[in-house]
């Protein structure tokens, strides 16, 4: 199977670098031409720029020296073995660590060129613009309607336009048809997959700029997974998406770029997460430049 087979379905802006005439971004790339996969495409509009990021829990670094940039309206996937720090890095992108006692983010994270951890930055506003879908579905013990309306309400939306907004969000999350007759029923009565789509609807209802998804499909069946993947490709038109996944096929299907993390013992014998390689998904899956990436990917794909 060619890992990027489904990528050809996605209409991708093809950028031609005038100086060298190279074709970038995805579909026209020829495997085996390393020149073509240059990372720093000047036309990419950056949403995040991480420089030497290190994240510590209670003084112990969990992941260290992460440098990567995430472009607007792209899907970026984080892959790597369990415990390598994917969730940890993801949570640093919307300042979720602020709420974890003992968690410290060091280094620099720029969001649209602005220091995300700057002294005057309002963490609540950061999280409104950078939404998050968690690994475990976590709907509020409220009605389906109230779950989706919660975000818009706290962000000052008038009651009047809530109904439309809720319908829109649920429709986009491919859940509307299943729940339109029971909006007042408890969200906890939904199945796990429905709950996860509800959480996605809840996240897009506040109209964020970025959506972070931590293994959103890990508890879902292939049909629900396919739906959510379609949804991500759909959402990519308006949102920037970062997704953590253990499913290589999923990364290859939905992601434009992929970051491979791993955990290694450092000099003092502590397990430490690090970013091994970050490139276009095509390159990571067909021509990884680091043997550790290759080992991980081929190990999975046999």
């Amino acid at each position: 199977m060619h890992p990027t087979a489904s990528q050809t379905d996605i209409v991708e802006p093809v950028t031609i670098d005038a100086s060298s005439g190279r074709v970038e971004n995805g579909i026209h790339l020829e495997v085996g031409d390393p020149e073509i996969f240059e990372r720093d495409d000047p036309t990419r509009e950056l949403v995040f720029d991480l420089e030497r990021v290190q994240i510590l829990y209670s003084g112990v670094a969990a992941v260290t020296d992460v440098n990567l940039d995430i472009a607007s309206r792209e899907v970026t996937a984080f892959i790597g073995p369990s415990g390598c720090g994917k969730t940890t890095v993801l949570r640093s992108l919307n300042r979720m660590h602020d709420t974890t006692p003992g968690a410290v983010v060091e280094g620099k994270i720029l969001y649209h060129g602005e220091d995300l951890y700057g002294p005057k930055v309002d963490a609540a506003e950061v999280r409104r613009r950078i939404g998050m879908v968690f690994q475990k579905p976590n709907p509020f013990p409220k009605s389906i309607y109230d779950n989706v309306a919660y975000g818009p309400k706290i962000n000052g939306r008038k009651r009047g336009d809530l109904d439309d907004l809720v319908e829109q969000a649920l429709t986009r999350a491919a859940l509307w048809d299943e729940v339109k007759d029971k909006l007042k029923r408890s969200a906890l009565a939904l199945s796990g997959g429905q709950q996860q789509r509800l959480c996605i609807a809840r996240a897009i209802a506040v109209e964020p700029d970025v959506i972070l998804m931590d293994e959103p499909c890990s508890a879902l069946d292939p049909i629900a997974t396919a739906r959510i993947e379609d949804l991500m490709i759909e959402l990519k038109r308006e949102f920037t998406i970062v997704i953590v996944t253990h499913n290589m096929q999923q990364a290859s299907r939905v992601a434009d770029r992929t970051a491979f993390f791993t955990a290694e013992l450092n000099e003092s014998g502590k397990r430490m997460g690090l970013l091994v390689e970050y490139d276009t998904t095509n390159k990571i899956f067909t021509q990884p430049s680091d043997p550790r990436t290759e080992g991980y990917i081929t190990g999975r794909f046999g």
Partner: protein, 317 residues
């Protein structure tokens, strides 16, 4: 290879198991019976003996001098038999409801705030630890000590005291002090059960901490907090010791709990029971009051169950 044994043939050692099973079953039934004896005896005797008092105007009349008058024996001799129906407990019912109600108004909101502070803000910091410890100590303070405390700082006219004299409010303060640690503990325990994922979900939508607590955390824990608080109220409604020397006494209904003496069902039972054996009328009053008090306490307990059931049903629906 051994032939498979029939399912009907007992394996070695299983006969002993049957016997043990039988013995355990009998033991459990016996234990249940033993537990039920005092329970049924208490409820039964209160109902049987109290029901006879609940006649006529018992619930709507003021308290007759019979039980509290100066010349008790004389008064009793005069009215015995013919006037006992004139003898009501309305002031005590009103007093109990007002005193407990005010105690609830003070202790429950404060207790919930305390529990929220401990679990959501304090966590493991020094102040929270001290507060948690004091709450535990306060839970262990005997109720009569709490009454004495309120008596010495609110009621009496000497020393470091507000010197407000006896009043229903002094009783509310004493009951409130007893309820407060219970409500704090119940709230903290219930908030601990709220999964952190819910808080994170709220933060991830741009909610601030205070908003998250009010709109997500407290509603998720509401059933437990409300039923915990109602059980504390039910408990407080029957307390005697903290009231008996801070609320004074009245024979007519006193709806102003801030001034003048007041009376509660529990203190009335106490006073009437003191003359137990001497005066049949007093004894009957005590049983009647006991029945009313149990009904009031039971109402709160049932309310607590109802609230829990309501919330659970809504969540499952």
């Amino acid at each position: 290879m051994t032939a498979p044994t029939s399912l009907l043939t007992p394996r070695r050692g299983t006969t002993g198991r049957h016997v043990r099973n039988r013995v355990a079953t009998v033991g459990i039934w016996l234990a249940l019976f033993i537990v039920l004896v005092p329970l049924v005896a208490v409820i039964g005797s209160v109902i049987v003996k109290g029901a006879s008092s609940l006649s006529g105007n018992f619930l709507t009349q003021d308290i007759n001098k019979i039980t509290n008058g100066q010349k008790l024996a004389d008064a009793f001799a005069k009215v015995a038999g013919k006037q006992s129906t004139q003898d009501g407990i309305k002031p005590a019912i009103v007093g109990t409801l007002l005193i407990t109600g005010f105690a609830t108004l003070m202790a429950v909101p404060l207790g919930i705030l305390g529990g929220v502070y401990l679990n959501e803000y304090g966590g493991k910091n020094h102040f929270a630890r001290v507060l948690r410890f004091l709450t535990e100590v306060m839970t262990g303070v005997p109720s009569i000590v709490m009454g004495l405390f309120i008596f010495s700082i609110v009621v009496v006219k000497t020393g470091f005291s507000l010197g407000w004299n006896v009043s229903g409010f002094a009783g509310s303060l004493a009951l409130g002090c007893l309820m407060l640690p219970v409500v704090i503990r119940a709230t903290e325990e219930m908030l601990k059960l709220v999964p952190n994922e819910l808080r994170e979900a709220s933060y991830a939508l741009g909610a601030r901490k205070s908003k998250t607590i009010v709109s997500v955390v407290l509603p998720a824990a509401a059933a437990g907090i409300v039923s915990g608080a109602l059980l504390a109220v039910a408990r407080a409604a029957g307390e005697t010791a903290p009231l008996v020397f801070v609320i004074g006494i009245t024979r007519t209904t006193n709806t102003n709990i801030f001034s003048g003496g007041n009376v509660a069902l529990s203190t009335e039972i106490f006073r009437n029971a003191l003359s137990y054996g001497s005066y049949a009328a007093a004894r009957n009053r005590a049983w009647g009051e006991a029945l009313v008090l149990i009904v009031i306490a039971l109402t709160f307990t049932l309310l607590a169950r109802l609230v829990t059931a309501m919330f659970t049903r809504r969540r499952a629906a």
